[in-house]
């Protein structure tokens, strides 16, 4: 009797022990990303480049910068869309990474949350970075990081398709001539243009060059100029110059359509350059034209290197060394070449163009580009952007006219 009771107890205690062991295993597992659990000599870096594994040049660069600063580096990469929430959660637990690399429109959100240190605190030198790029990381007169590289949007065109349709690319200077070119392409039995108008930030990102190119401002979504930009897209869909699938296209699917070789134009980013070379046809790049000629300002993409707030302020000095190492000219050149980005400093941009003259239109586009959170929009931008992509979707899918869609967008922002 006693024996069986004891053996039952043994089993129970074993279960408890197993559960406790399991629980501690779990907690140490989640503590893997924690900085506090690490010893003093380990610094954590979070980046949105999960495509680079341990053997990549990027990972080696991080490790090298760590060695230079005399510390060990623990790198964790997240999907871009995950990183904002992960960074917020980590900050809530006072568990932020030492160096955080985030998409530029997120910087103002994290700054608003009090997650990031300013350059006054962390003594980061941002004087080399181009002011139009740096602006995305500034709000209220303070700077919260430094750009590691930039990308933006432009129009890729398929030389063969344009030739067949009898379009001279030099004639495409404004919306009118672009629409005329699309009409010629369609008449020649080819397809016009692809872009991404999906109901996420990507949709707003792709619409912005046209929105800004019309002269509209993000503070007034319902202006006549804004309506003219949305009407342009709507006309293209109605006339069959752009496929109806753009409403659901991500930038990747839109690129796949262009890569099929049937389309004359594709609005896409710097990061597709490597794929463009593989596409198997001759292509060219022009900046997105503004409504009445000239180049439209395209939104800047690309990440910022930031230093999150730490309980132990003594860590900033080393973090600053790490960031300076990552953003010194030689390393910027290497990193931005790997990422297919345009460098954020003129010095490195010149080197990039010297190495690859095809980059010239992109460097020009980046110089003309504008941060989405610039103009001191900061955390107002995400709300505006959400309404903007909704308006684009409503108008293109035909559930509202461009005017009505933008009117309700503007009233929803307020």
């Amino acid at each position: 009797m006693n024996r069986s009771a004891r053996s039952r107890l043994t089993a129970a205690a074993l279960t408890v022990a197993a559960v406790t062991v399991g629980a501690t295993a779990c907690s140490s597992g989640s503590g893997g990303t924690s900085t506090k659990a690490a010893d003093g000599g380990t610094y954590t870096i979070w980046d949105p480049y999960p495509q680079f594994d341990k053997s990549s040049a990027w990972a080696k660069l991080l490790a090298g910068c760590g060695t230079e600063a005399g510390v060990k580096i623990k790198r964790t990469s997240f999907d871009t869309s995950d990183l904002t929430n992960k960074a917020l959660l980590a900050a809530q637990q006072d568990n932020s990474a030492d160096v955080l690399i985030v998409d530029n429109p997120v910087v103002s959100t994290l700054a608003e949350a009090g997650v990031l240190t300013t350059t006054d605190d962390n003594k980061l030198d941002t004087s080399q970075a181009s002011p139009n790029l740096l602006a995305a990381g500034q709000s209220g007169g303070k700077t919260y990081g430094t750009p590691i590289g930039a990308n933006t949007l432009a129009l890729y065109y398929n030389k063969a398709v344009l030739k067949e349709a009898g379009v001279d690319i030099a004639s495409v200077k404004d919306w009118k001539s672009l629409t005329a070119a699309l009409a010629k392409v369609k008449a020649a039995g080819k397809k016009g243009i692809t872009f991404s108008a999906i109901g996420t930030e990507e949709g707003s990102f792709q619409f912005l060059p046209w929105f800004w190119g019309s002269g509209a401002q993000l503070t007034a979504l319902d202006s006549d100029r804004a309506v003219s930009a949305l009407s342009l897209w709507k006309t293209w869909l109605d006339k069959g110059y752009a496929p109806n699938s753009v409403i659901n296209n991500t930038q990747t699917t839109s690129w796949q359509e262009f890569a099929s070789g049937d389309y004359a134009f594709s609005e896409n980013g710097t990061w597709q350059l490597a794929n463009a070379d593989k596409a198997g046809f001759e292509y060219g790049v022009i900046p997105v034209p503004a409504a009445t000629g000239g180049d439209a300002a395209a939104p800047t993409g690309g990440e910022f290197v930031t230093i999150p707030v730490q309980g132990d302020t003594g860590r900033y000095a080393t973090s600053q060394k790490l960031v300076s190492c990552l953003t010194n000219s030689q390393n910027l050149l290497d990193t931005d070449t790997t990422l297919s980005y345009v460098a954020p400093t003129t010095e490195v941009q010149d080197k990039q163009v010297a190495a690859n003259p095809n980059l010239q239109p992109w460097v020009d586009a980046v110089k003309a580009a504008k941060g989405r959170t610039s103009d001191d929009l900061g955390t107002k931008y995400p709300k505006i952007s959400e309404q903007l992509w909704k308006a684009v979707q409503s108008a293109l899918s035909g559930s509202a006219s461009p005017k009505d869609a933008l009117d309700s967008a503007q009233s929803a922002v307020k």
Binding site: M1, A5, R6, R8, L9, T10, A12, A13, L14, T15, V16, A17, V19, A23, S81, T84, N85, L88, A91, Q92, P105, V106, T109, L110, E112, A113, G114, V115, I198, G199, T200, E201, P243, N244, S245, I247, N248, E257, T379, Y381, P382, K383, S385, E386, K390, Q393, S394, L396, S397, G398, S399, A400, A405, A412
Partner: protein, 327 residues
């Protein structure tokens, strides 16, 4: 391995046992000692499941309710000092222009999916119950949609339904029907995600109902056949009534699965265009994670509405089952 792990673990057990037996006052008799230690054992057995429930169910649920009752901005989320605002988030959600369409879509999506999944599943189950040659193989093939990861099946559906290059429109074109903007027109988007979800849900209904059919004694059918009942009568008088308990649990599980369907809609349409396929599940995600500036409070509020809806139907089920057990 086993020996080395067991011997150190045994020691704490003995001390625990000692503690347990030492706990009752010495005045107690030996006969009363044993139930006490058994009770300890019972508690020890309960601990894992209690811990599990508290850690993985009660606490997250509490946090979600807490989130929905406070005004979280990104700043207060990080600093943890969000002011308590009572039901303000729920009011925001109810007043939102998305609320009415989202509610309607959730109800339509859930009802249509449930009814069709159940009807098709039952029809197939009865069909496969005939045990014709290859029926087992065919039935296994029907399970494929269920075994595929959702992201694969949803992506495949969205390719097939693509307005310009999808196979569905190509087929329609071949038979002379105008292409339909399945995913990009506000009048078709909800239908498209419903079709995809029914396809994914049928195998589940098929499997559960088929196993339910097997528990119906064949003697009943034989007796009915002798009495002159035709196939239709046999289905409505025997199969359907005797399948009722299985049907109830299938429908309840189906309801919970369908209410929370998120992946399919998100991958295929992102709830769009213009909210035309937004349900509570996608809306909750959109609020909490779909924007650069997350609105945790309202997002959690929508999530809680979903939890309450599932809970209500769960309680109805328990009640109905109790009634059935009593009768």
């Amino acid at each position: 391995m086993k020996h080395t792990t067991q011997s150190p673990d045994r020691r704490p057990v003995q001390s625990r046992n000692g503690a347990a037996t030492a706990a009752p006052p010495p005045a107690r008799t030996t006969t009363r000692r044993r139930p006490a230690s058994q009770q300890w054992a019972a508690w020890a057995f309960l601990t894992p499941v209690t811990l599990y429930l508290v850690l993985f169910y009660a606490y997250p649920l509490y946090r979600n309710i807490d989130l929905s009752l406070r005004n979280y901005t990104v700043r207060s989320f990080v600093q943890g000092d969000a002011p308590f605002t009572g039901l303000a988030n729920y009011r925001t959600v109810f007043d939102d222009p998305t609320f009415a369409p989202a509610l309607l879509h959730t109800v339509v999506f859930t009802t249509v999916c449930l009814v069709l999944q159940y009807a098709i599943g039952l029809a197939l189950a009865v069909f496969f119950h005939q045990h014709f040659p290859l029926s087992a193989t065919l039935r296994a093939l029907f399970l494929v949609p269920w075994l595929l990861p959702l992201i694969v099946s949803a992506s495949t559906w969205s390719w097939m339904l693509n307005s310009d290059s999808g196979i569905v429109n190509a087929t329609l074109h071949a038979v002379g029907i105008d292409p339909v903007n399945w995913l990009t027109s506000p009048s078709w988007a909800l239908t498209s995600v419903i079709i995809a979800n029914i396809w994914i849900g049928v195998p589940f209904n098929l499997v559960v109902l088929h196993s339910g059919l097997q528990s119906i004694p064949t003697s009943l059918y034989e007796a009915a056949a002798l009495d002159g009942a035709n196939a239709w009568q046999r289905f409505w008088r025997i199969t359907f009534p005797l399948l009722r308990p299985v049907s109830a649990i299938t429908l309840l599980l189906g309801l919970v699965y369908t209410l929370k369907v998120f992946d399919i809609i998100w991958i295929m349409t992102k709830g769009g265009p213009a909210d035309s396929s937004t349900t509570f599940a996608t809306w909750s995600y959109q609020l909490g994670f779909g924007n650069l500036l997350p609105a945790f409070g309202p997002g959690a509020a929508v999530g809680n509405l979903l939890v309450v809806a599932a809970l209500v139907f769960g309680l109805i089920y328990v009640r109905v089952q109790r009634k059935q057990a009593m009768s």
